[in-house]
């Protein structure tokens, strides 16, 4: 338990120290969303209709940016080998790192999302549910993302490769996240069913992600 806590604490400290991880994600999210009204024109109804989708897609892309850092500096500096001799199985190492990524990237994005909703004329009723769905759905971003981060460890500039590997895995999260918001904004639709499915995707990713990432890490250790 001390080991997991130490690892999460260290990763959060590094995210704050190395700078950029959280800031880049937030800045990227802000710019992408701010560009939308400029590109699409001042049609308030159109913006309002596409707002949930745009906010979710922007968030997925912003969270992707910092995924590559999850393991690569640790691999370069030989931290990974020493981590592997610790009392934690690599599955838990991956889970701890994914959790730290969620806290340092996804939670700030979830907090920023409603602010950006203003730019897109998002229906007021949708704000709490937007934050709710992002918080429920975004662990899947980190936990499925850690698989991509582990798989691309050895490839220099694997950033784009991570996106190719991981974005398709985010489709269920995206669909149920948006359908939950739509259920509130444009009834009919079942909010409960969407939220339950979104939670199911997240829970499955919490289990599958670290196991797959650990398998990839083992292959890269040698």
């Amino acid at each position: 338990m001390t080991s997991i806590w130490a690892l999460i604490k260290r990763d959060l400290l590094l995210a704050a120290r190395d700078g950029g991880a959280t800031g880049t994600a937030l800045g990227f999210y802000l710019i992408v969303i701010a560009l939308m009204p400029l590109g699409l024109g001042p049609d308030m109804q159109l913006l309002s209709r596409i707002a949930p989708g745009v906010l979710w897609i922007g968030l997925l892309l912003a969270a992707l940016l910092s995924l590559g850092r999850m393991f690569d500096t640790d691999q370069d500096e030989g931290v990974l080998e020493a981590l592997a001799t610790g009392p934690l199985p690599l599955e838990l190492v991956a889970a701890a790192k994914a959790l730290a990524h969620w806290i340092s990237s996804c939670v700030p994005l979830a907090i920023l999302a409603p602010v950006l909703g203003l730019l897109l004329n998002l229906d007021l009723a949708a704000y709490p549910i937007l934050v709710g769905t992002v918080l429920v759905g975004s662990p899947a971003i980190s936990f499925l993302g850690c698989v991509g981060a582990a798989l691309t460890l050895r490839s220099r500039r694997g950033g784009l490769l991570i996106a190719l590997l991981v974005l398709p895995l985010y489709i269920p999260t995206l669909i149920f996240g948006i359908s939950a918001i739509s259920a509130v904004v444009t009834p009919p639709g079942s909010l409960e069913a969407s939220l339950l499915l979104l939670s199911a995707v997240t829970i499955a990713s919490l289990v599958i992600g670290p196991i797959a990432a650990a398998a990839a890490l083992r292959a890269q250790l040698g």
Partner: protein, 226 residues
């Protein structure tokens, strides 16, 4: 040092029954391939408690590969690696310190934060941090971000990990690289103490480490072809 397979097995049978509790590293007819090339083949040796084994040999002889295979990072093609001992039910990696070419030091954390993390993560105590840093001459640098350290100082910080948690088997890859004479002496002292306390050391090295007592295993292309 490199003995035939049958030789080892017979010795094993007589020993295992009465000395099963003593910590001992047993490498049995190990073969490892890297990138489709057989780097180690039919290698068998033992390291008993209180022994230091130095792996020597030319570049590319398989020293690092052997260390990684012992640590379990590289799966062996054949053969096995066992670390017997009182807590033999724990995986070998959890009873091992592995210090490779790279130092495992994150440059944006301070020296002390790096050491503290390893102490907590590896199950050591925070109390060991200060003395470990002091031992390797990093006491005065504790609050400096590790990125500002010289190569030798970073190496010392990596080696300080050895003292942060109690592990019987130490696997060291070129531990004295970029160390100055004084630091090499400190390292030799630390290794000697570990060995005297019944620990095991397997170190790949080109330079003499100045240990009080050690055996040497020479890896070479001839041994590999055999």
């Amino acid at each position: 040092m490199i003995s035939g397979k049958t030789d080892i097995v017979t010795e094993d049978n007589t020993r295992n029954s009465d000395r099963s509790v003593e910590t001992q590293l047993i490498v049995e007819s190990l073969a490892v391939e890297r990138g489709g090339r057989r780097v180690i083949s039919e290698l068998s040796f033992k390291v008993a408690a209180g022994e230091a084994l130095l792996l020597t040999g030319p570049n590319g002889a398989g020293k690092t590969t052997l260390l990684k295979a012992i640590a379990g990072f590289v799966p062996p093609n054949t053969g096995r690696v066992v670390l017997t001992g009182a807590d033999g039910d724990h995986p070998l990696a959890e009873r091992t310190h592995y210090i490779g070419h790279t130092n495992g030091v994150r440059s944006t954390l301070t020296v002390e934060e790096n050491a503290q993390f390893w102490a907590q993560y590896l199950g050591g105590s925070d109390a060991a941090v200060a003395s470990a840093l002091e031992r390797f001459g990093l006491g005065g640098l504790a609050t400096i971000p590790a990125g500002y350290l010289s190569a030798g100082q970073k190496r010392r910080l990596a080696l300080a990990r050895l003292l942060l948690a109690d592990r019987p088997l130490w696997l060291l890859d070129e531990p004295s690289s970029s160390l100055d004479a004084a630091a090499t002496e400190v390292l030799a002292g630390v290794l000697d103490e570990h060995v005297a306390a019944g620990g095991l050391v397997v170190a790949a090295t080109h330079l003499p480490l100045g240990l009080a007592r050690s055996r040497e295993l020479r890896l070479g292309f001839a041994a590999r072809a055999a």
